[in-house]
């Protein structure tokens, strides 16, 4: 069972954008998709360890700010070189105006 950790308020993230969330020495990216849903992934690119929080969200893609590699943040799938390794994703739930990330 995941442990649910409060990451942010829902209105902390604009639609089609993301923020960085640090917890217990790890960094995560929390996304607000254009359809209003929220998602969470590991916070650093699998290619060169760059923080994704400065990247660009386009639809359901997050583009790494360093080398423009892209992931589908819903599944973590690597979509554009130079990223080859998928991004880890985490479950998310929204309760009482807050976004929770499920960590195991």
């Amino acid at each position: 069972m995941p442990q649910w950790i409060r990451a942010c308020a829902t209105d902390d993230i604009n639609p089609e954008d993301l923020i960085r969330f640090d917890h217990d020495g790890d960094t995560y990216a929390i996304y607000h998709a254009p359809d209003g849903r929220f998602y969470a992934t590991a916070g650093r690119c699998t290619h060169e360890d760059v923080h994704l929080c400065d990247g660009l969200v386009m639809g359901h893609l997050i583009e790494c700010p360093k080398h423009n590699g892209q992931f589908d943040y819903r599944t973590g799938e690597a979509k554009r070189l130079p990223v080859c390794v998928n991004l880890k994703t985490f479950p998310v739930k929204v309760e009482a105006g807050a976004v929770f990330i499920g960590l195991t």
Binding site: E48, D54, L56, E63, P65, H67, N68, R80, P82, C84
Partner: protein
């Protein structure tokens, strides 16, 4: 970070030598770089992708290529072909570099296939393996001018001025590129290539090299069959006789500036240029801005420059102004390879990130 600065002395620019290992040991490899502060909403607007500007520029690009080629063929054998081939060669042999570059980043167009098509065409024109160079350029952005990590350091110290300026008509560079493609086409990769290109991509590297070499072989065959230089003047040779603008702009990017630093304001140069050069170069004269924020498309770089220029060293005011600075710095580096030009920041700027290069700062010029 309190690690010792790099030792003074000869550098090893290979990607598998002692400087490479040392860069990893002291945390210079894949490190976090300095960024000027830009509000998130402004940055999102700057990063926004659109097809319009690149489609407009690409239509003009093809029109100039087709028009130049037409005039070159029609007037071949007379002096009237010269202006046509001049335009054709610069568009082929120089602007191919900026198109390769921006489409490689995936920022020129919003539509991915458009980036990919122009990237492949431009890679052929610039005689670069489209697979290899995608990865080497990724490394250039990760570890810009970190000795032993960056495969694209053009001005190694001490600088070989004559060799680099012979490259203005890129005989050496183009020949080297062609030999690399020929080697790749036979299935052979160097240790450096194996270092920065993942193994999963090696097969694609070899295939791309074979396609490029097949086109060159066909061009040579047509030239021999027609007993004319014209086919080679249109395919292949423009990479030599039209590359002067690419080389002229490219040398301004980093020459004479710092190595082994984590602040692009210390190792990269922004130069104001005329509109024609900016078209050919796709605004890469805003080179500090590009390195600091590589996800900003070329057409938004002038706006980004306005947003962050108070945090940057003053740009060079022209290509000539840039070269005055480059030559002065390179002259010093020929006798003192530790020297680099350290520009004074405006009072509004944040200080340089200096933790890795205290010794070098003491030896730098201003």
């Amino acid at each position: 970070m309190t690690a010792a600065p790099f030792p003074v002395g000869q550098r090893d620019y290979s990607l598998v030598g002692p400087d490479s290992r040392r860069a990893v040991e002291i945390g210079l490899a894949s490190a976090e770089w300095y960024h000027s502060d830009v509000p998130r909403a402004v940055m999102k607007d700057l990063m926004k992708r659109t097809d319009g500007p690149a489609i407009r520029d690409t239509i003009l690009w093809f029109a100039l290529l087709i028009g130049g080629a037409w005039g070159g063929i029609y007037f071949w054998g007379t002096w009237a072909c010269v202006p046509f081939l001049f335009v054709y060669s610069v568009i082929y042999g120089s602007s191919c570099d900026s198109r390769w570059h921006e489409c490689g980043h995936g920022t020129a167009f919003r539509t991915p296939w458009m980036n990919d098509v122009i990237y492949q065409i431009a890679s052929f024109m610039v005689m670069r393996n489209p697979v290899t160079w995608r990865w080497s350029h990724a490394r250039h952005h990760t570890d810009t001018y970190i000795v032993g990590r960056d495969a694209e350091i053009a001005w190694m110290r001490p600088p070989k001025t004559l060799t680099n300026f012979l490259a203005l008509f890129d005989v050496i560079g183009a020949t080297r590129s062609l030999l690399i493609l020929a080697r790749n086409a036979t299935g052979r990769l160097t240790p450096d290539e194996k270092d920065f290109v993942p193994e999963s991509e090696w097969g694609k590297m070899i295939l791309a090299a074979r396609i490029h070499m097949a086109i060159y072989a066909a061009t040579i065959a047509v030239a021999l069959a027609t007993w004319s230089w014209l086919p080679l003047m249109l395919i292949g040779l423009p990479r030599i006789y039209g590359s002067w603008h690419m080389v002229m702009c490219g040398h301004l990017q980093h020459a004479g500036l710092a190595e082994n630093v984590l602040d692009h304001r210390l190792n990269t140069r922004t130069v104001y240029m005329n509109p024609i050069s900016r078209y050919i170069y796709w605004n890469m004269n805003y080179h500090i801005e590009h390195h600091m924020f590589p996800m900003v498309p070329y057409h938004a770089l002038p706006r980004l420059h306005e947003v962050i220029k108070a945090d940057l060293p003053p740009p060079n005011l022209s290509i000539l102004d840039g070269y005055r600075e480059v030559f002065a710095s390179l002259r010093r580096q020929k006798t003192d390879p530790e020297y680099y030009l350290r520009k004074t920041l405006p009072p509004s700027a944040k200080p340089y990130r200096e933790e890795f290069h205290t010794l070098n700062i003491a030896r730098s010029g201003t």
